[in-house]
Amino acid sequence: MEKRLILRGILAGAAGGLLAFLFARIFAEPLIGRAMDYESGRDAAQAALDKAAGLAPEAADPDLFSRTVQADVGIGVGMVFFGMAMGALFAVVYAICLGRVGGLGARNLAMLVALGGFLGFYLVPFVKYPANPPSIGHPDTIRDRGNLYLVMVACSILLLVLAVWLGKRLKERLGKWNATLLAALGYAVVIGVVMAVLPSLGELSANVREFGHHATETPLPLTDSHGRIVYPGFPADTLFSFRFYSVAAQLVLWGVLGLVFAPMAERLLARRAATGGDGAAVRARVEPAAGA
């Protein structure tokens, strides 16, 4: 039973990842290309400034894969496998939740678990540390940024689980509606405190030392020794669109995952409920009827 649920979860996740990839290929790749053009233009301007100041230019990173491979294959593999991993975790949570979270139907539970995954794994961490296109993010701070992002993901998931548990506890005393509202409020307050305590990326010590106090690592205009702007800051519209499409792609991924999984799970559970056994017994009973 669990194995069947997990296989269906992986399948639904792959479908979600595939659609999110198609979405990304159409909407995100042009933006990623623009961000990379910005980065190479900025590097060239920086190199010119360094040369004028008599400094040695920085060595560029070698390209292990061409842009075509990254933009057509790499992003597809990444998103489909991400979808499958999320689908597997989704199915694990779904199997644990079955029958333990009140009178939810099989399909409604699927959509709620998908909503939880979208919030816990992506949207809540995004509020504190949003997705960034290439050219935003200093190589020196990758370890801090990686750790902070994972802390944010872990906190949002853990607190979401606690909120569900709290809501269940409060349900008997306060009723479903009030218990749900109170648990959601508690989640918002505690995750808000976590976000307030964690540092902004621009305030990491390596960044403050080099650039002064800023909220983010988004590149500011590049200036020469006289303070004249020689290269603009990162284009705001490109940044907004990239983040907007990033949220949309995750909505597609989790939405498709839930919508594909829901009917499959319902059929599986209905079959099992009808016989009280596993699916194999049902198939034996059903197949003669299909022939008739």
């Binding site: 669990e2 194995k3 990304a24 995100a28 990623i32 292990l64 894969f65 491979v69 990254q70 933009a71 790499g74 992003i75 597809g76 593999v77 990444g78 998103m79 496998f81 991400f82 991993a85 999320m86 597997a88 199915a91 694990v92 199997a95 644990i96 079955l98 029958g99 333990r100 009140g102 939810l104 139907g105 099989a106 539970l109 992506y122 961490p125 949003p130 997705a131 960034n132 296109p133 290439p134 993010g137 200093h138 190589p139 990758i142 990686g146 750790n147 902070l148 992002y149 994972l150 499409y245 990033s246 792609a249 995750q250 059929r267 559970l269 209905a270 079959r271 409920a273 059903v286 009827a289």
Partner: protein, 73 residues
């Protein structure tokens, strides 16, 4: 198709509880593998690296990593 859905005409309002203790190993194993995939797509060869100084995984899934919201570079 119709014959398959026939037994499910009256789906249980509350799905049955699975014996999670019996399936704990399968569920935990699945979760570990899924988290490993999450790690390799999102984190490896960035903040941490299992293959030392190599950057092939990072560069291959580079665009996905940015777009899925992970920190990069």
């Amino acid at each position: 198709m119709s014959s398959l859905s026939a037994p499910g005409a009256t789906p249980a309002a509350t799905p049955l509880v699975l014996p999670a203790a019996k399936a704990a190993l399968l569920l935990a194993g699945t979760a570990v593998v899924a988290l490993a995939v999450y790690y390799f797509i999102g984190v490896d060869q960035g903040a941490y690296s299992v293959f030392g100084n190599d950057m092939h995984v990072h560069e291959f899934v580079h665009d996905a990593r940015h777009f899925l919201g992970f920190p990069c570079h």
